[in-house]
């Protein structure tokens, strides 16, 4: 779907000749002539206008009645008046009507001072009220959800929140109950409105009817400052604005960036800021006391000395891992120190996923093959491969839904686990966990028409007919195809993926291409900065290849490596094979970590823990999925003794005998830009508030050339046959994160382990929703609550990774995995409904 072309038309408004793009609504067209028309219900982000509030009435010559400017498109030669007595009278009356039932409790209302109703009443209202009758009353304040407070008296029934729930996030929970003057917003049966994007309605509500409970009464607009930055909780990297009062982040607002987030935030991004000010935050260096064996607070000098000595002792037997929130600069400096000062090649940031051949990485990162995020909205076809955006890259979920709903994008979803996008997809396919390689190879076979499709489908346990339909959709559904694929697919399927892209001729096409969803907020940037075992800065070949994370764990456990250096990484929790990592951490001679929160691993095994900056305190750059380099900016001061990360790394490096030559944050950026050829010449100023895609700059031509020609994709291993046992599929829920657990507002959402079973398997096992089961692989067992999900394929069980307890990573050894599921203990009698209403509406619910 090519983006619509914009033609300009000329019309007259208040006697001014204005030219505006054809088809825009008068409200927007008027802005081209600097005329402001007041609106309440109009919000272009929500899609087509509804004309609910009548605030935008204007007079159009030739039409007898006043027209709503929010739903009247501009036309050539139109003559519009916004300042006539008729219009003014109408505006006054609309305001008066809206205020008839409005409680006017601005002094206690959290919206006061930033309220469109206040502003518009002041600007377009009569100024006095004739209303002496009693007003409508509702009980207030009420909880719409644990995150949102609703005050129904203040609601002006603009429909914005309802439209968001129905047409943008498509959770279909909010509705307007009753009719006429008794209409009120709520869920139809009064259950709490809990959905991954619910917080957006707070920002949408033009009055104080929907307010944040976390921000409730915290500050007034004149008490606060806004500080723009970027959310690093997931790879979507939505642009945010922190609301800061007294050096504390009190709220997170969206900072619309069409190229990134489209103006929406998920609830994690909106509320997990509370982790910044958590009581559990580490604010001073901790060093293990040799006598008591406990971590005790220490001075920076001492901690740096101890850490440097430990790293020095480790020398080339040191391995370093960087986690998702690490900035490019920190990652870049880290790999410099490890590679140059410690002479160790072992650095990685790929969350324990298999190492991808460098040539393949270069081919996948070729500028011509990259789609942009807005392309998801305008493509002919979008294929979501191996990822559920809601869990892996939350705000893209909304972008994909928007494309399908508004632009008729044909969506295909190919995952092993049922996806939240299935109901929107034209086509959805399942393959067995472990069958990724076979599936992509089958897709290649179906698209190119060569290879043994049925054998490959068999190996992937996928439906050959569906695959053929998918291939037909990709080939014949229009040239603009965007494939959103996940790093979690692993390394093996990638050659086949490249061949699919080649067969579909995506290379060099604007509006088509691949987008990778990395694991970890800045996964892409870290690889480009050289934090991977087989790649240096700019995806260059490193002097010596190192071990990827998994092998690092094995080597630490066996004693081949001695020292582990963790930069915001928590491999025990986040990486596959938890028990191997536990052994590795226990066996390491020294463990140096930079962390914001303590966890059990650090408490037990860390030698030195440096207090790390939170994302609101950092300065640096990160790279979005589609190559947009974005800038993190300092919003608040660092608490306690926390020091800038680059500074700590530079200080350590000096003690290790290497002067990094970094005295300020921007100097680190400069070094990074010099080291990565395709960033050449990039400055913080150029990145600015909106970021720049490096593929769109001249320096992109310096991106490493990919090896030409089709790539040999190798013989895929078949997915394991269940044979009575069950296949184990895992996913990382959006709510499985320490920052969710320590944020008081979000705590209630923290992911708990649940075993998603198909109805067939549930019946066979004799378990029902809510029953406890034990899932066993080898000698590892995980306890989980059963969640029977209609479209889970029979023979597979899905467990969550990275939950605080009973994480599925416990069971993940060398993938693929078979597990046995047994009912555990007594089964509590839990009714079917109510349980399923977890953090997100499951698609069974949506479908039913």
């Amino acid at each position: 779907m090519p983006r619509p072309e914009r033609r300009f038309v000329t019309f007259s408004i208040d006697g001014r000749e204005v030219s505006a793009p054809e088809g825009v609504m008068l409200v927007d067209g008027a802005k081209y002539g600097d005329v402001e028309i007041p609106v309440f219900c109009y919000e272009p982000k929500l899609g087509a206008p509804v004309g609910a509030c009548r605030m935008c009435l204007v007079e159009v010559e030739g039409i007898p009645k006043l027209q709503t400017a929010c739903s009247t498109p501009v036309k050539d030669g139109m003559v519009v008046h916004t300042q006539t007595d008729r219009v003014r009278e109408a505006q006054n009356s609309v305001i008066e009507f809206l205020l008839v039932n409005h409680p006017l409790d601005c002094p206690v209302c959290d919206k006061g001072g930033e309220c469109p109703l206040q502003d518009i009443t002041f600007g377009w209202g009569r100024g006095i009220s004739r209303m002496v009758e009693p007003k409508r009353h509702f009980k207030k304040p009420l909880e719409l959800s644990p995150l949102i407070a609703i005050d129904r008296e203040r609601c002006i029934l603009c429909y914005r929140c309802v439209r968001f729930s129905q047409e943008v996030s498509e959770d279909y929970q909010l509705v307007l109950n009753e009719r006429g003057a008794s209409t009120y917003v709520g869920t139809f049966d009064g259950h709490p409105y809990v959905a991954p994007f619910s917080g957006n309605i707070i920002e949408l509500c033009p009055v104080g009817a929907l307010t944040s409970r976390a921000y409730r009464f915290r500050a007034r607009p004149w008490d606060i400052e806004g500080a723009g930055s970027v959310c690093t909780h997931c790879p979507a990297q939505c642009n945010v604005e922190f609301t800061v009062r007294d050096e504390r982040v009190l709220r997170v607002l969206a900072r619309d960036n069409e190229g990134v987030d489209d103006g929406w935030l998920c609830d994690k991004g909106r509320f997990a800021y509370q982790a910044i000010h958590s009581e559990e935050r580490i604010t001073e260096p901790l060093v293990r006391d040799s006598e008591s064996g406990e971590l005790v607070p220490a001075t920076w000098e001492y901690a740096l000395d101890v850490a440097a000595a430990a790293l020095q002792a480790g020398g080339s037997k040191t391995a370093a891992l960087a986690g998702g929130t690490t900035t490019n600069e920190e990652g870049f400096l880290l790999q410099r120190v490890v590679r140059e000062a410690l002479k160790s090649p072992h650095v990685d940031s790929r969350a324990g996923l298999p190492q991808v051949d460098l040539g393949l990485q270069q081919a996948l990162a070729a500028p011509g093959l990259q789609a942009t995020i807005p392309d998801l909205e305008f493509a002919h076809t979008v294929l979501v491969l191996g990822t559920d955006p809601i869990d892996d890259v939350a705000s893209l979920d909304l972008r994909i839904r928007k494309g399908v709903r508004r632009n008729g994008v044909k969506l295909a979803v190919a995952t092993s686990r049922p996806s939240a996008l299935d109901p929107n997809a034209k086509l959805w396919l399942r393959y067995a966990p472990g069958g990724e390689h076979a599936f992509v190879a089958a897709l290649e076979a179906a698209v190119t028409g060569s290879g043994d499709l049925s054998a490959l489908c068999d190996a992937a346990d996928a439906d050959p007919k569906a695959l053929e339909a998918l291939a037909a959709l990709l080939k014949d559904g229009g040239e603009d195809v965007v494939i959103l694929w996940s790093q979690r697919l692993g390394a093996a399927p990638l050659p086949a993926l490249l061949n699919v892209a080649a067969a579909l001729r995506l290379e060099g096409r604007d509006g088509a291409g691949l987008i990778e969803v990395p694991v970890g907020g800045n996964g892409r940037g870290l690889r480009e900065a050289g934090v991977q075992s087989n790649g240096g800065p700019g995806l260059s070949a490193p002097k010596a290849p190192g071990k990827p994370a998994r092998e690092i764990a094995a080597a630490l456990a066996s004693g081949d490596l001695s020292t582990l250096w963790l930069l915001h990484a928590d491999p025990v929790r986040d990486y596959a094979d938890r028990r191997l990592w536990e052994r590795a951490a226990a066996n390491a001679d020294a463990l140096v970590a930079h962390a914001t929160l303590l966890n059990d691993t650090l408490r037990e095994h860390a030698t030195v823990v440096f207090p790390a900056e939170s994302y609101a305190e950092k300065e640096g750059t990160i790279v979005n999925l589609d190559g947009r380099v974005q800038r993190l900016r300092v919003a608040i001061g660092r608490p306690g003794a926390v020091r800038a990360e680059w500074q700590v790394i530079a200080d350590l490096s000096k003690r290790l005998g290497l002067d990094l030559g970094v005295l300020t944050g921007p100097m680190a950026t400069r070094q990074l830009v010099e080291a990565v050829p395709f960033y050449a010449g990039l400055t913080l100023k150029e990145i600015g508030g909106r970021g720049v895609r490096w593929q769109e700059r001249e320096a992109a031509s310096a991106a490493p050339a990919a090896p030409a020609g089709p790539v040999e994709s190798g013989e895929p291993l078949p997915a394991p046959r269940p044979n009575g046992a069950l296949r184990l599929g895992t996913y990382r829920p959006i709510w499985a994160a320490p920052e969710v657990e320590v944020s008081p507002a979000l705590k209630f959402l923290a992911a708990k382990q649940q075993a998603e079973l198909s109805p067939v398997d549930a019946e066979r096992l004799g378990v029902d929703n809510g029953a406890k089961v034990s899932v066993t692989a080898g000698d590892a067992t995980v306890l989980a609550k059963v969640f029977v999900r209609g479209n889970v394929p029979a023979g597979t069980v899905f467990l969550a990774e990275a939950t605080a307890e009973q994480s599925a990573t416990e069971l993940l050894g060398e993938a693929p995995q078979l597990v046995s599921v047994e009912p555990y203990g007594q089964r509590p009698p839990v009714p079917l409904e109510g349980l399923a209403r977890g953090a997100r509406p499951s698609d069974d619910e949506v479908n039913s």
Binding site: D105, P107, V108
Partner: protein, 177 residues
């Protein structure tokens, strides 16, 4: 033809010609009138107030130290912590941090109350804008002007201090004083 201005004519008053006895009086007369007051005061008794034993009574609208008020009947604070006074204050010396009332802990009549209410009186310019801004008449300017202290930080008045009655009342002027 001579034009008749009609009733629009305004007679201009001109000063008398200078010189003569009249001129001399006019030159010094006003000075003498002033001196009459000066000499007259010399005959009066001194008007020194023996402050602090004696205090100058103030006008009822005198703007002295602020007071926060409670409802007489319920004893709840009138202030709801809306921060409008802080917004209005040109000296930026008011700090309000609000919190939510709960049924167990009800401080004010509305949903919110001021958990922290501080006025830095060393910065206050006693303009009274806060009083004007307050939608609930919760803050008013009192009559107390005795606020000197030995320590700057002691001039930051907290909510408790502002709610408390001043130790000594400032005398007010009577009607004709």
């Amino acid at each position: 033809m001579a034009w008749n201005p009609g009733e629009d004519v305004v007679a201009v008053q001109r000063a008398p010609k200078p010189g003569g006895a009249g001129g001399a009086y006019r030159a010094f007369g006003e000075t003498l009138r002033g001196l009459k007051t000066t000499f007259g005061r010399m005959l009066e008794r001194p008007v020194v107030y023996q402050y602090p034993e004696e205090k100058v009574p103030v006008y009822p609208r005198f703007r002295g130290r602020h007071k926060l008020h409670k409802f007489a009947d319920t004893g709840l604070e009138k202030c709801v912590g809306c921060s409008l006074c802080a917004a209005a204050c040109p000296a930026d010396c008011i700090r309000v941090v609000a919190a939510e009332n709960t049924p167990e802990h009800r401080v004010s009549a509305g949903e919110r109350y001021a958990a922290v209410y501080e006025i830095n009186l060393s910065r206050c310019i006693f303009c009274g804008y806060c009083e004007v801004a307050c939608p609930f008449d919760a803050i008013t300017m009192g009559h107390d002007y005795e606020m000197s202290d030995y320590n700057r930080t002691d001039l930051i008045f907290t909510k408790e201090m502002l709610l408390a009655e001043p130790l000594e009342r400032t005398p007010l002027r009577t009607e004709d004083e």
